[in-house]
């Protein structure tokens, strides 16, 4: 890969949107070319500045109410002939709100089973994190640094277990993108093995116990609690992966 190609693909690389082959070629070029490396680092700094900035515009608290009132009004206007006898809060309004709530997240589980595609995503996420030299966005072995970092970056609060005592020191955290949504990636280490633990909110009723999979030389453990889905992946052997998963589970549901 030459400098021109690198410049063309640099942003796809930064955003983890390249295929593995291009990504690897680009990594190699960056290691050999100080000018491109500098451009990459400058862009990385800019991106970090954008992501960690207070530039995200949050709506005023009143807007939530206004929007809800508007939607109610619209649904009333549409349905008055049928429902006006119900008075006050009509069934139609209730239905409109249910629709909005369902739409908020419940629809996810209406889709066809996505296990195979999630598995591919998890493996790709793991490989990308190692190849693109983008293992962590927040580099810290302290759960009290990593946990608050996620608050500004995902719309849920992933648990960040401290597993140092079990022999799995925390390396840091990263924002990743799996199953068509942003997810939290926690990075742990065991000897020379890196473990990615992907966490994202689960739809209601999806809870299931841990299952293990071996795929392309990776060992994966997956389980879903009442509110979160977990995928752990590493080249670590299956037995130690289970120890790891067990440690995480104990932390999130202390017995």
């Amino acid at each position: 890969m030459d400098c021109d190609e690198t410049q063309d693909l640099l942003h796809g690389y930064l955003d983890d949107e390249l295929d593995v082959v291009s990504s690897r070629a680009l990594t190699q070029h960056l290691q050999a070319c100080p000018a491109c490396m500098q451009a990459y680092e400058a862009q990385l700094t800019l991106r970090t500045a954008l992501r960690t900035s207070a530039l995200y515009c949050t709506p005023p608290p009143s807007l939530h109410k206004q929007v809800r009132a508007e939607v109610r009004r619209a649904s009333r206007a549409e349905t008055r002939p049928m429902w006006w006898t119900w008075g006050g809060l009509s069934v139609a309004v209730a239905m409109a709100l249910v629709v909005l709530l369902v739409w908020g997240g419940g629809l996810e589980h209406r889709r066809a089973p996505v296990e195979a595609h999630v598995l591919q995503d998890v493996i790709a996420g793991h490989v990308r994190s190692l190849m693109a030299n983008h293992l962590t966005d927040v580099f810290s072995g302290d759960q009290h640094t990593v946990k608050p970092w996620f608050e500004g970056h995902v719309d849920f609060a992933p648990p960040v277990p401290d597993l140092t005592a079990q022999g799995f020191p925390l390396v840091g955290g990263r924002l990743d993108y799996l199953d068509n949504r942003p997810v939290a990636a926690l990075v742990y280490q065991r000897r020379q093995h890196v473990i990615n633990l992907f966490v994202w909110p689960a739809p209601p009723g999806a809870a299931r116990p841990a299952s293990t999979v071996t795929h392309h030389g990776y060992n994966l453990v997956q389980w879903t609690t009442a509110d979160m889905t977990y995928w752990a992946i590493s080249t670590l052997n299956a037995q130690e992966m289970q120890t790891f998963a067990h440690g995480v589970q104990q932390h999130i549901a202390p017995l």
Partner: protein
């Protein structure tokens, strides 16, 4: 209301004013409610943002049409290569304001991809679907927009340094 924050953030960055953004978001949620039948599953955030974006564009066309025809001025700078020292970009509070100005100075069609990618965290695929652009265009707009942001910030930091600030 699901995704209200995402809707507002995008609307605020596209219209650049609080009140305009609030109006647009209200309108967009009404449309979303009306067209809910057209939603066939998938990522509801991307679906809603598509409606927010379309509502913004309609609003801009009616109120500030010139902003939509603003072109990305290629002649000002050479955007293929920038000589930037990463350290100069380590932004702290004062420079955040600079970054805000830099973003607002981008034409809206370039600003939106940065907002969706870097503030909202959408994938290229989702951005392509929200903006109805090919993936390659999403990537090249992001590249040009981010390069321009970098130039803007660096140029202002240099000016400040010369003035001894």
């Amino acid at each position: 209301m699901p995704h209200l924050a995402a809707a507002y953030n995008l609307a605020r960055w596209l219209t650049r004013y609080d009140q305009d953004a609030e109006d647009v978001v209200q309108e967009a949620f009404l449309r979303a409610y009306k067209f809910f039948g057209n939603f066939h599953g998938g990522d509801s955030r991307a679906w809603l943002l598509t409606i927010v974006r379309n509502t913004c564009y309609t609003w801009l066309r009616q109120n500030r049409a010139h902003e939509l025809t603003e072109e990305f001025d290629e002649t000002l700078h050479d955007v293929t290569r920038v000589d930037v020292n990463p350290e100069t970009l380590l932004l702290h509070d004062a420079q955040q304001q600079l970054l805000r100005q830099a973003l607002e100075a981008l034409p809206v069609t370039f600003r939106e991809v940065v907002i969706m990618r870097d503030l909202e965290g959408l994938s290229y695929k989702d951005i392509a679907s929200v903006t109805d652009l090919p993936l390659g265009t999403v990537m090249s707009r992001l590249a040009r927009a981010r390069t321009r942001l970098q130039q803007y910030v660096t140029a202002h930091l240099h000016t400040e340094a010369e003035r001894g600030l």
